[in-house]
Amino acid sequence: MTITTKEGDHAYTTQPAKILAMKDLTEDTRYFKFKFLDESIVEEDYKPGQFAIMSLPGVGEAVFSISSPPTRTDFIEFGVRKVGSFTEALFNLKVGDIVNLRGPYGDGFDMESLGGKDLIIVSGGLGAIPLRSVLLYVEDRREEFNQVFFLNGARSPADMLYRDDIIAMAQRGIIESHLSVDKDDTGEWPYNEGVVTTLFPKIVDRVVSEKTTAIICGPPIMYKYVIQELLKLKIPKDQILMTLERRMKCGQGHCGHCAIGGRYTCLEGPVFTYYDVQHIKELI
């Protein structure tokens, strides 16, 4: 996915992409599928966990994780929660409308190097958006991985992203999924109730620490507790991969906002190993 295609293009050049489809995932989160107008741009060549920046002149720019896998070309997908000015404007667009994109940015999950490993994928809330890219990658290259556990937490049944897709994937034996909601307000939730860490007992006895890599994405407070659980399982610190969200304006290490310690989330992250960032005090 190379955005600079012609003479004069630069780091902030965007490429127009057309909305092919959208679908509400939850009350405030929506799935978007795009196709670049410029046919020469191929929607691959990125890693799950990387992000792109969308631009709508007049509205602004905002950062979103790519939620489709590089194994599926010809389109690029996102999941967006409506929280403010940009996201509201995006939600007001229609199929066929144009959004300008630039990216991909950051460093994602190096899926190839995870080949042959067990994966524990822990997701909280919106964290499922970038992790969807990981899951679909696993689906498309299932033979490369060993056991794959997916622990997914959401506030309520209605807030759980991709629930049917995940269940279908589990039924096809691609992943072993465990779902949990903080609180079931419907009385009809067939799965676990409680924060995502309460799912760990379901997998502990099958985890082989040294050949497992954990991948986490979720709201800031989730990290502390999930990491505690993973450390209890003796997963090596450099095999705990986490994706961090920070405010960012440029995506290329210039605007300064995403600095944590000496690192720029947009360049060296958003995916970090726990080993790398464990000493950074303002991590969470």
Partner: protein, 264 residues
């Protein structure tokens, strides 16, 4: 590309204040025609004949509330409007006439100004009964605040045009000092002169310090204001604590009052 869906209906309403924010709109000579054409201005009694309106998409409300009659009208406006914007320091903070809620002091002032034979006269229902001046958010829900005594066009236009385009303006509070340094000015406080820039919300392009006169704080308190440290600094340059607090309160309204009492 993003495009707005419709031209919204906008009303400009005024309560107690100097009408400076409405006038500031009329003083944007370069943008005036666009102002009247980019939205459907249905109500703006300072500039055009009176119109009755059933509904407005956006109400720009100027002034503080200080009679029960105004209060009733304000509530009417809230009912009619999808978005209410507090316009100017009177509406956002209470303005210079915000003097707290103390009923006894309020009566003393009424007596001082209107009193006859030791009594506050009765006012007719045409004008309503007086109450201590307060910002509008004390009575109704306010969606956006644009402070300034009066508002500055540099600050107003970007927020307003987002609103009439159906977008949410983003919020990023910073003090007058930021814009003061944008202009490359020196700092009064370093030369033993008072200036309220560090505790005052930015947006005016630091026009006063740029003219070589200190900021008197007319945009009200900056969200990140550190009043304690500011008072210490003012004392260090020779003001008494009382002087410092009085200056902070000139445009500070309730937010500053609470902060000074340590209640924020």
């Amino acid at each position: 590309m993003w495009k707005r869906e419709k031209k919204p209906v906008v009303g400009v309403f005024g309560f107690s204040g100097c009408a400076g924010d409405q006038l500031a709109i009329l003083h944007m000579e370069d943008e005036l025609v666009d102002f009247f054409t980019s939205a459907d201005i249905k109500f703006f009694h300072m500039a055009q004949s009176h119109q009755e309106v059933e509904h407005v998409d956006i109400a720009l409300v100027e002034g503080s509330i200080n009679t029960d009659k105004q209060l009733a009208e304000l509530k009417e406006i809230r009912k009619k409007a999808d978005i209410v914007v507090a316009l100017g320091t009177c509406a956002t903070h209470g303005g210079i006439q915000y003097l707290g809620d103390n009923e006894k002091e309020f009566e003393e002032r009424m007596l001082l100004v209107y009193g006859k034979d030791g009594k506050i006269p009765e006012f007719s229902e045409l004008v309503g009964n007086p109450i201590p001046a307060k910002p509008i958010h004390k009575f109704i829900e306010v969606d956006f605040s644009i402070p300034g005594c009066p508002i500055a066009k540099e600050n107003f236009i970007p927020i307003y045009t987002k609103l009439i385009s159906g977008l949410k303006p983003s919020k990023y509070p910073y003090p007058v000092c930021i814009e003061c340094k944008f202009q490359g000015n020196d700092c009064f406080l370093l030369h033993g002169e008072y200036c309220l820039g560090p505790v005052t919300a930015g947006g005016c392009d630091a026009c006063c310090p740029t003219f070589g006169v200190p900021c008197v704080g007319c945009f009200g308190a900056y969200e990140g204001a550190n009043f304690e440290s500011m008072i210490e600094k003012l004392i260090e340059i020779g003001l008494t604590e009382e002087d410092a607090k009085r200056k902070l309160m000139m445009f500070g309204g309730e937010a500053t009052e609470l902060a000074l009492k340590g209640e924020k």
